[in-house]
């Protein structure tokens, strides 16, 4: 298959290898070294997309990240990537791309009818209409707008590829591997610095890739870098943001140049780079000129046309006009002539210059003092209209299929701006360049207005050397720099050519010069307002080539210099970055780590249904074949505890060793109740408040030695409690000699609960007299369990005679099995979190739903625990009137009057005649095994006074109203006879 516009030789193209690809279903060929854009141009494809609002035909405008037009949907199926710039896609065999944002075919997009309505679709038109009738916005107007807006289509399917994060540290980070960046990296590397050279392109070299004569220097530079072990060159890596403290973010496209990522490799890798010094050598983006019809396919930035010819060996047109305001763009005409194109004319608003003379000598028709005032054609450029600068009328017509445009260069100051550096106006370059650095960064080459390869390389070498020195390295030896004549890039100030037809300042979002003037007329004269009002420079290209042009049009309307108008502030990202790359590998199942107890495999073998408790996995219940449903399992497990004995993994509770001469004093200040009076070998229930008087956490804390305490916390608050203890030791009571160690992971713990718990425990625990007298409720002692060292606690959450046994986690399975064996004769059953919840609700023990950060000790019926004397956290602020207000909801028990009526946590409590006013809510609900029916705990206003009365549990979300009786929260064994048995 032919590539009619491919040059026979030249460029960084491997003509020996052919790569097949399709665009809009048509098959083409290209070569390694091509981008999708260069391959399309080689095949003569000019029309590649439709614009955002007016659906105007658009072609390839640039050769890089600044591309506003040539956005395609790349790949198919789950790998479809909308809005991908054809100018940066490396061609691979089998590539599939489609044009986007069209209805019908690309050539006949019927949405282009929007262009006819253009007079009524100017900037911000939607703010002024679509308001009547009011109901029509969501039903009619908005869906219409939404369908019309947007660019490409997402696949809607899960992305099959992997991504990963990576971290780097260096002395000098060089961003951009053009002449300046290569020289900077080489200079810094030669000084001995650890250097990272990041380049967004697959090939390092920047503009050097368009200069065959300098290929030797480019290769020599890369070879030199390759020989330096502390220099890392990262191609295909876009540095997207410059953050505080010398940290930059970058995305490396590891596999995007391949049909799909090879096994074990990610698609992309997101780097966090910490650099002591940064050299920004990010180059410049060529600037468009606003003139009528400046968006026609065939209108292209001059440097892009030169690049396609020189780097890709592609002739972007046969008959070319150059419209330039500075000498720097003229090389494009020479490159196109070399490539075999006819140079129809060179249009330049200036009267004379060195480049103009050279062009005349080359035989080109140079139209000095002229401007392009229009284009002819529809889906492809057919001609160009040229007139004297500022003249009226349509001018002279030239037949041409390529119009190369250059209004100057916009230094790529994005990263410098993000680093905090101000932007300063350079009147000669008519551009903003970076001002004094705020962070440890410096710019080199075209991104600070130093144009020409030789000058940029010298600037880069100096910057690299200075950066290395600033990072503490001695001056490096010098090396050969490229020599090349430089053209003058200072442009003539021609931003806009006024005339009939749309002159775009933002090609992607269809923002015209007239829109900018309209914004000014309506008072949106500040660049930030104008940007938001018109959407200027808010497309995927972020106004890289047209942003300043819009500002200049606004400046003219305001009658002020461009420097006063300025640019909107630059924010990350320098170029759009893949969501997956930013997310990294920790997504989906690995979004957060899964924390497992030492008994995880045991529960799995028992067929546990899992539930998430924070990041822990805990067994919810253990279904059996004979269980009709989940409730059958839960009730069976709970009944086993109430009637016989159950076994439960309670390893997830937080455990903290608190030790030291001042440990008792410390705990007295941390807990709302007293601990210093607790004897060794005893446990006590403890209540912690936050400083604001709200309950923070509870748990059982044991004194295991005169100065040694074993604090337990709830599963959810283990981390926050540890931090709370550490903070107060550090900030409030640094004089206390207390050591803290988290031992949550060291100890696994098993609860054995039920009337037969003592017999079961006796069956595998040695070294303790388990009699009620010797080891009463709340006793603690070290022991041996199934031959391993363990610690036994006589504590109960279920309300039954119960023990908790803690053992070094590696023995947990061994001890569990021993307990199961010992319990077999007693009908022991494992019980999960659901049964545990049921049991504690029956008993009236509060847990997470009651300790929700909004309740006081009094609210929960625990007010009497608060000690009267001595300082403790939360003591003072708990006394505020709002927290002691007797009208606050209090903890109550609730029982459905009709036992068959289900109640749900989250229902609100209403008085039978309360006119729907919420008097409280149900915090926890369950079915009961003690007295069949549904019960719950709740917080109810005047709860104590309403004991025995009826309330309505209202759940309008579920359409339920259930009559409930208010009862004591201690529904099971309120005298605590069973736990003390």
């Amino acid at each position: 298959m032919s590539q009619p516009h491919r040059l026979p030789t030249g460029g960084h193209i491997d003509r020996a290898t052919r790569l097949a690809f399709t665009f809009d279903g048509r098959r083409y060929e290209g070569h390694p070294g091509d981008t999708l854009a260069s391959a399309l141009l080689a095949n003569g494809v000019r029309l590649v997309g439709r614009s955002f609002k007016y659906h105007r035909p658009r072609g390839i405008f640039s050769a890089g990240v600044e591309e506003p037009n040539a956005l395609v949907e790349l790949r198919e199926g789950a790998r479809r990537e909308p809005n991908t710039r054809a100018t940066v896609i490396e061609l691979f065999d089998g590539l599939v791309a489609q044009s986007q944002n069209r209805r019908g075919s690309l050539a006949f997009d019927w949405m282009a009818a929007a262009g006819l309505l253009a007079p009524w679709l100017g900037a911000g038109f939607y703010y002024k209409t679509f308001m009547w009738p009011a109901a029509w916005w969501e039903r009619v107007y908005e869906p219409m707008i939404r369908r019309a807006a947007g660019l490409g289509r997402a696949s809607g399917l899960p992305d099959p590829d992997r991504y990963e994060a990576a971290h780097a540290h260096c002395d000098v980070l060089v961003v951009g591997a053009g002449a300046a960046g290569l020289a900077a990296a080489r200079a810094a590397g030669a000084a001995g610095a650890r250097v990272i050279l990041a380049e967004q392109d697959a090939l390092p070299g920047g503009d050097l890739l368009n200069e065959p004569a300098l290929e030797g220097w480019r290769r020599a530079a890369l070879a030199a870098l390759d020989a330096m072990p502390e220099v890392t060159v990262m191609p295909r890596t876009t540095v997207f943001g410059f953050y505080d403290h010398g940290v930059l973010g970058a995305v490396e496209r590891v596999s995007d140049h391949l049909p799909e990522p090879p096994p074990h490799l990610p698609r992309q890798r997101a780097w966090t780079i910490r650099a002591r010094e940064v050299v920004l050598a990010t180059g410049a983006h060529e600037r468009l000129i606003a003139f009528p019809g400046n968006d026609r396919p065939g209108v292209m930035l001059a440097g892009a046309a030169r690049g396609y010819a020189r780097r890709h060996g592609v002739r972007a047109g046969e008959a070319a006009v150059l419209f330039a305001t500075h000498d720097g763009a003229y090389e494009a005409a020479h490159a196109m002539a070399e490539a075999g194109a006819r140079i129809v004319a060179i249009v330049d608003p200036r009267q004379d210059s060195a480049a103009m003379q050279r062009a005349r000598e080359a035989g080109f028709d140079v139209r000095a003092g002229s401007e392009v005032c229009g284009t002819v054609g529809h889906a492809a450029l057919r001609g160009v209209s040229v007139r004297r600068v500022g003249a009226a009328g349509r001018g002279d017509a030239f037949a041409a299929d390529l119009l190369m445009v250059s209004g100057g260069w916009n230094p790529a100051v994005h990263l410098a701006s993000m680093s905090g550096a101000p932007l300063v106006w350079d009147e000669a370059l008519l551009a903003f360049i970076p001002g004094a650095p705020v962070q440890r960064e410096r710019s080199a080459g075209a991104c600070r207005g130093v144009h020409g390869i030789a000058a940029a390389a010298a600037d880069g070498a100096a910057a690299g050397r200075a950066a290395a020195e600033a990072a503490g390295f001695a001056a490096s030896p010098s090396f050969a720099l490229p020599e090349a004549p430089a053209a003058d890039c200072r442009p003539f100030a021609l931003w806009e050519v006024k005339g009939r037809g749309k002159a775009f300042v933002d090609l992607q979002d269809d923002v015209t010069a007239a829109d900018m003037r309209l914004a000014h007329r309506e008072g949106f004269s500040h660049i930030e307002h104008a940007k938001r009002y018109t959407t200027h420079a808010m497309g995927t290209d972020q106004g890289k080539s047209g942003g300043i042009v819009g500002a200049a049009v606004l400046a003219e309307a305001r009658g002020e210099p461009v420097a006063r108008v300025g640019l909107p502030r630059f924010r990350p990202y320098t170029a759009p970055i893949a969501w997956g790359a930013m997310a990294g590998e920790g997504v989906g199942r690995h979004f957060q780590p899964t924390r497992r107890t030492a008994l995880h495999a045991v529960h799995d073998a028992l067929g546990a249904v899992w539930l998430d408790a924070g990041i822990w996995k805990r067994p919810a219940y253990y279904p059996r074949k004979e269980d009709a449903d989940a409730w059958a399992s839960v009730l069976r497990e709970a009944r086993a505890v109430r009637e016989r004995v159950g076994i439960c993994d309670v390893s997830t509770l937080g455990k903290i060793l608190v030790e030291g001469p001042d440990a008792a004093t410390f705990l007295d200040r941390i807990y709302a109740n007293t601990f210093s009076t607790l004897p060794v070998g005893r446990a006590r229930y403890g209540l912690m408040l936050r400083e604001d008087g709200i309950v923070f956490d509870d748990g059982t804390t044991s004194r295991i030695g005169p100065e040694s305490w074993f604090v337990t916390t709830t599963t959810a608050q283990a981390g926050p409690v540890m931090q709370h203890l550490e903070f107060h030791l550090a900030s409030a009571w640094p004089e206390l000699d207390v050591s803290l160690a988290s031992v949550t992971d060291q100890w696994a713990a098993i609860a054995i609960a039920g009337p037969r718990a003592r017999e079961v425990v006796a069956g595998f625990v040695q070294g303790i007299d388990l009699s009620n007298e010797a080891f009463p409720f709340m006793a603690v002692a070290d022991c041996t369990a199934a031959g391993v060292p363990a610690r036994l606690f006589r504590i109960s959450f279920s309300g039954e005679l119960a023990y908790e046994i803690a053992m070094p986690a590696g023995y947990a399975t061994h001890v569990w099995q021993a307990a199961m064996a010992a319990g077999a004769a007693h009908g022991i059953e494992p019980y999960g979190m659901e049964a545990l919840g049921l049991l504690r609700i029956e008993k009236g023990h509060v847990a997470g739903p009651e300790l929700n950060g909004q309740t006081t000790a009094q609210d929960l019926g625990l007010g009497r625990m608060l000690k009267k004397k001595g300082d403790f956290i939360g003591r003072v602020l708990a006394q505020r009137p709002g927290l002691t207000d007797p009208s606050r909801p209090r903890l109550v028990g609730l029982r459905s009057v009709d036992p068959s009526r289900q109640i749900r946590a989250g229902s609100h409590l209403l008085l039978p005649d309360g006119k729907g006013r919420s008097e409280g809510w149900i915090t926890s609900a369950t079915r009961s095994v003690v007295e069949p029916g549904w019960i719950g705990l709740g917080l109810l206003r005047e709860g104590e006074a309403r004991m025995g009365s009826e309330v309505i549990a209202a759940n309008p979300l579920m359409g339920e109203e259930v009559r409930m009786r208010v009862v004591s929260p201690h529904m099971h064994d309120p005298e605590n006879i069973r736990v003390r048995a």
């Binding site: 916005w137 660019l151 809607g156 007329r521 008072g523 995927t540 930013m582 604001d692 950060g853 989250g906």
Partner: protein, 417 residues
């Protein structure tokens, strides 16, 4: 100034759109006003609008140090909802939502209020119970709320991954009347309508001091001279502490960063606002096609308006964990707003220790949806010198009294609200 209408658009289109005039005037400040509002964001402009519209107080100046709408009004994720738990917040935000529902007609400006539904996912029993308590509280207060099961979630937002994530989705709490609005247009619309009622909107006028006499405010000093008024209202999200320091008192506020993000433009993909219950993440799609998304605070005080990488990574990871199809899309831009965080996550609309000085502040990251009601209640409080019942609880001294409005039970940690 003539209002906006389809007819005018038609007419102007025919004559080259040459007849449009400034959406609001650019007056010089007068020496004195009846009321000065400091802050030209949504809340300040709304205050001025309702002072004029509801209370007939039109001799009002809005002083803005930069451009109107460039603070948090223009830096948020545009979500509007009233799905709160506590009755005080519930009633206030519902009032706000009702104002939103007729805002376009009140202002004569299309703020593109889109009631596409706000869906909060839950992933376990505890979250479901909390959602149930909240949703029932809403329903009992006359606010729409629905509980969705997994099928309901799938129907509402088919891209949500119900099962493969770390935390499978159990269901969601949906407020259908919630949605989004075009954030910039809110500021411009209030400005346009306030201006039409005689309010002076004065941009590039920074307040540098307060004129206090005998414990009462008499006006402000600005970069454009002294401007006097017997009543001054502060609506300066992110800068309240700086302004109250000028007035000689400190407030329970810490200023934190919140990042937000937008993707490249896409054809319609997500039709409601969805929030992830297993990580801090929320997302919606703008009418222009960009996915607008965000997460939690960056975690430390800042007035810097620029975000940090680790929190951004967390937001992106949560997003792709909830909706795996997002992986191949691209983030386009990120930005950060400065949030006046309060110790309980609820705001202040109240009088201050200085007589004649009022404030609407402490919006944490819920300020955008509050815009109309904040202005409405602030205007009421200024006009009557006492709060409306809707904002009576939003006082500065509620912490002294122990009457916190802590929706989430996070406690007095500004950075955790």
């Amino acid at each position: 100034m003539a209002g906006y209408s389809g007819f005018r658009i038609l007419l102007e289109g025919l004559r080259g759109n040459s007849g449009w005039r400034e959406a609001w005037r650019k007056p010089d400040p007068k020496p004195s006003y009846d009321v000065i509002i400091v802050g030209g964001g949504g809340h300040g402009l709304a205050t001025a609008f309702y002072l004029a519209e509801v209370h007939g107080i039109r001799n009002v100046a809005v002083l803005e140090r930069g451009l109107i709408g460039q603070g948090n009004t223009g830096r948020n994720t545009t979500i509007v909802r009233s799905n709160y738990l506590l009755p005080e917040n519930n009633n206030f935000y519902e009032h706000s939502l009702k104002l939103w529902e007729r805002l376009e007609q009140s202002l004569g400006y299309n703020v593109m209020m889109s009631q596409r539904g706000v869906l909060n996912l839950f992933h376990n029993d505890a979250q479901r119970n909390a959602a149930m308590r909240r949703g029932n509280s809403m329903r009992l207060n006359g606010i729409d709320a629905e509980i969705l099961d997994r099928e309901g979630v799938k129907a509402m937002c088919p891209l949500v991954d119900l099962d493969n994530g770390r935390y499978p989705v159990m269901g969601g709490l949906l407020q259908r009347r919630g949605g989004t609005a075009r954030h910039d247009a809110v500021a411009w619309g209030f400005a346009h309508a306030a201006d039409a009622r005689g309010v002076d909107i004065i941009e590039h006028c920074e307040v540098t001091g307060m004129i206090l006499e005998g414990g009462a405010i008499q006006g402000v000093r600005t970069t454009r001279g002294e401007i006097r008024a017997p009543k001054v209202g502060l609506a300066v999200a992110g800068h309240t502490s700086t302004l109250t320091a000028m007035a000689g008192f400190r407030v329970p506020i810490e200023t934190h960063l919140l990042q937000a993000f937008v993707s490249e433009g896409l054809k319609p993909l997500i039709d409601c606002v969805v929030t992830f219950g297993a990580g801090h993440f929320y997302i919606s799609q703008s009418d222009k096609g960009g996915l607008v998304f965000g997460g939690g605070l960056d975690g430390y005080p800042s007035y810097g308006q620029r975000g940090t990488l680790p929190e951004a990574e967390h937001v992106y990871a949560a997003g792709v964990s909830m909706i795996p199809a997002l992986g191949r899309l691209r983030g386009l831009r990120s930005w950060a707003g400065v949030m006046d965080m309060t110790p309980d996550g609820s705001p202040y609309i109240c009088r201050t220790p200085v007589r004649g000085l009022y404030m609407t502040a402490g919006w944490c990251y819920g300020g955008f949806k509050a815009t109309p009601a904040s202005g409405w209640c602030h205007a009421w409080t200024i006009a009557k010198d006492e709060p409306h019942s809707l904002n009576a609880a939003f006082t500065l001294d509620r912490f002294r009294e122990g009457r916190m409005l802590d929706e989430r039970g996070n406690g007095p940690h500004f950075w955790a609200q």
